[in-house]
């Protein structure tokens, strides 16, 4: 079972307080100073381990989005950075809109909400389903003279 955040923080705190008392890099009068010694190294290593662990379990929104995109694309390679940034920007705009309306009292209208939902549906449809070729075919069909 994965330890909870509280237990992990307690682990880091125990190491921090124990090694802080032992290191030559810290004194009550002078604060932190000097060359990294063994106790301080253990603090830093423990802190790095903790932050790695934390990031793996509680990734930032952009990291979560990157992983989701990678899974949807069916490849570990990920998108080229410029393409990813375009998608991230689109996703962030939609996220900000829905979060704002749902939780922060952002004014909106029925029309704007409908457009937002339609934009989200199209985005997800293009990402989640292997139908992007079909959607492109529909776009092409409707662009032909007489069909628009």
């Amino acid at each position: 079972m994965t330890p909870g955040l509280t237990a992990k923080v307690h682990e880091v705190e125990d190491v921090f307080r124990d090694k802080k008392a032992r290191t030559n890099c810290h004194s009550e009068s002078g604060g932190w100073d000097g060359t990294v010694d063994s106790p301080l190294r253990k603090i830093l290593n423990k802190l790095e381990d903790f932050l790695d662990w934390f990031r793996s379990l509680y990734p930032r929104r952009k990291d979560r989005f990157r992983r989701a995109l990678s899974r949807w694309e069916g490849s570990d390679l990920g998108l080229p950075e410029p393409s990813f940034e375009v998608k991230w920007e689109t996703w962030s705009e939609m996220n900000d809109y829905f979060q704002g309306v749902s939780h922060h009292g952002k004014p909106t209208s029925t029309e704007e909400l409908r457009n937002g939902i339609a934009r989200l549906e199209t985005f997800l449809a293009r990402q989640l389903l292997k139908t992007s070729d079909d959607l492109n075919a529909i776009d092409a069909l409707l662009k032909e003279p007489g069909n628009a």
């Binding site: 029925t110 449809a125 529909i138 069909l141 409707l142 069909n147």
Partner: protein, 147 residues
């Protein structure tokens, strides 16, 4: 007017996946597709409301959204199709149709409103945004001397 080949191609794409269907109708900006799509069997089967335990949802119907968008530019063609859509308990479809009928001729709107009034009388409540859409219909009816 789309060619028979274009309609055939569209039907092939639409029937491949529900997402394709929703996407196709959301992108349609021409009323010229109404007749061939109606002939192909669309506009006849609005999705029912979904009940899951205590939760009720009203799935959007791509066809009715399309009709609502086309009503201002092709009211006669939309009226013809709306008059043949079967009754539904899906509030989302009612809303789309209410937004469509305010653009139709007075007679078509009044016929739709008569059936709608019967449906409304059986509802425990009418919630937003359907109330707003129905309010616009009432306002239009009240302002039209022929109805």
């Amino acid at each position: 007017m789309p060619s028979p080949e274009a309609v055939e191609q569209a039907l092939t794409l639409i029937e491949r996946h529900p997402v394709n269907r929703g996407y196709f109708f959301s992108k349609l900006e021409s009323p010229d597709w109404i007749a061939p799509l109606a002939e192909a069997g669309f506009f006849k089967d609005p999705p029912p409301r979904r009940v899951n335990g205590d939760f009720v949802s009203y799935p959007g119907w791509p066809e009715s959204r399309y009709l609502a968008r086309m009503a201002p530019v092709a009211p006669a063609r939309v009226a013809d199709v709306i008059g043949r859509i079967p009754g539904t308990d899906n509030v989302s479809v009612h809303e789309d149709l209410a937004r469509a009928v305010i653009h139709l001729d007075a007679g078509s709107m009044a016929r739709w409103a008569t059936g709608e009034a019967r449906w409304i009388s059986r509802q425990p409540r009418i919630e937003h945004p359907l109330d707003e859409a129905l309010g616009a219909v009432v306002e239009r009816l009240a302002g039209d001397e022929t109805t």
